[in-house]
Symmetry: C2
Subunit: 223 residues, 2 copies
Amino acid sequence: MPEREQSTLVDRVTSKIFEMLLSGEIPLGGPVNEAALAELLSVSRGPVREAVKQLQGRGLVVKEPYLKARAVALTVPDMVEIFQLREAVEGMSVRLATQRMSDAELDDLLAAFSDAKQRGDGVALDVHVRIAEGSGNARVRALLCDELYYLLRLYRARSGKAPGRREDAFAEHWQILRAMKARDADLAESLMRTHIGRATQSLQALLETEAPPLGGTEERKTG
Amino acid sequence: MPEREQSTLVDRVTSKIFEMLLSGEIPLGGPVNEAALAELLSVSRGPVREAVKQLQGRGLVVKEPYLKARAVALTVPDMVEIFQLREAVEGMSVRLATQRMSDAELDDLLAAFSDAKQRGDGVALDVHVRIAEGSGNARVRALLCDELYYLLRLYRARSGKAPGRREDAFAEHWQILRAMKARDADLAESLMRTHIGRATQSLQALLETEAPPLGGTEERKTG
DNA sequence: GGTCGAAAAAGTGTCAACACTTTTGCCGGA
DNA sequence: TCCGGCAAAAGTGTTGACACTTTTTCGACC
């Protein structure tokens, strides 16, 4: 459960609350009660407050002064916004990575991808992470891997594995990697944007068919 | 000094610390001492802690557990990273705005821009804000206007007005607005990216000539 | 004189209590 | 019966004190 030994209580509390969001223990759009969480986790309200503030910074919790904090609703329009942002930033990420990764790093990435392809492993997201790390731009990496990533995980955990277009994704990733290997930054960026744009479109299609958002079961006490 | 009556103490403290960063009272790369700030501002350490955490979320302060927090160094390479991110996100911003803003809104924006041009007013940044608001994407707007904006302000305040290419900026903004009016999203995005890419290039040029970063004067007590 | 180690100092992390704000529910009046 | 206002309850905001970690300093030993 603890991803690795986290030194400070705040980090542990943050992880725990995030898990509660993933599992649905705190319903999407539901209230996030500091006191109840503090008692549940056997800690004071201070660390809970900071953890909530941190989650607020990541966009997982919304709140205004003196009003109850609420978990993000994560409606389909929300996800469309996030995917539009990802389209732009992942495009820049792969552009920079294409220019800055060494041949050795690229070969390594291609090999790892081939292996994963063999095993049928779901490391699709890892490709995006590796590219972001290869971009050499710490802010781009942090945005994609530390902020939007959490929202994606939450959405996928609660929406029932979302698109499920595994086959397409593999092919598209492969094309992107080939463009990187060919040092064609424009092509790589274009392919990446198309890749993510496809997911955006299937979301928007979902938006028109499925009116009811995926949301939590109901207004429920957090404790 | 208070932008507007802020209800909660944490917000006021956050603003105050940000001003201290802008003015240089807290040197870039210098230590951010919770206790000293608390005494200086006549508040408890709790609000200061949360304010620092918030600034940390905005990338203005870096810190790891039990170690002194430090103001961001804001080296030229840092700014290059930020501009690369901005290039991608502002591009998406103007693309979405071109698709979603109404004719009336666009005319309004064009008129406001013309007026500002007459007065020779430095509302250049406001164009970016208006476009981000017109994008209809709350996350894009928040990233550009609430997060990167603070870093830009800080950099401009401490680096001596940065590029100073006022003439070029006006012309480039005008071109962008014309593309928007023509509903040419591809052109608008392309122009915006070139516009920001120019600033990035002048930063990178600076990087090669000016080795010493702009940094703070020296390690100094915050109180 | 230099270096390793322990104690003190500085600074961050956590806690429990108190103050303020918002919401909820009740009561009286129209 | 419905509306407005008042009081209790719930929940957030703030505080000062205590615990833990890191850094610095001082002294003993080599």
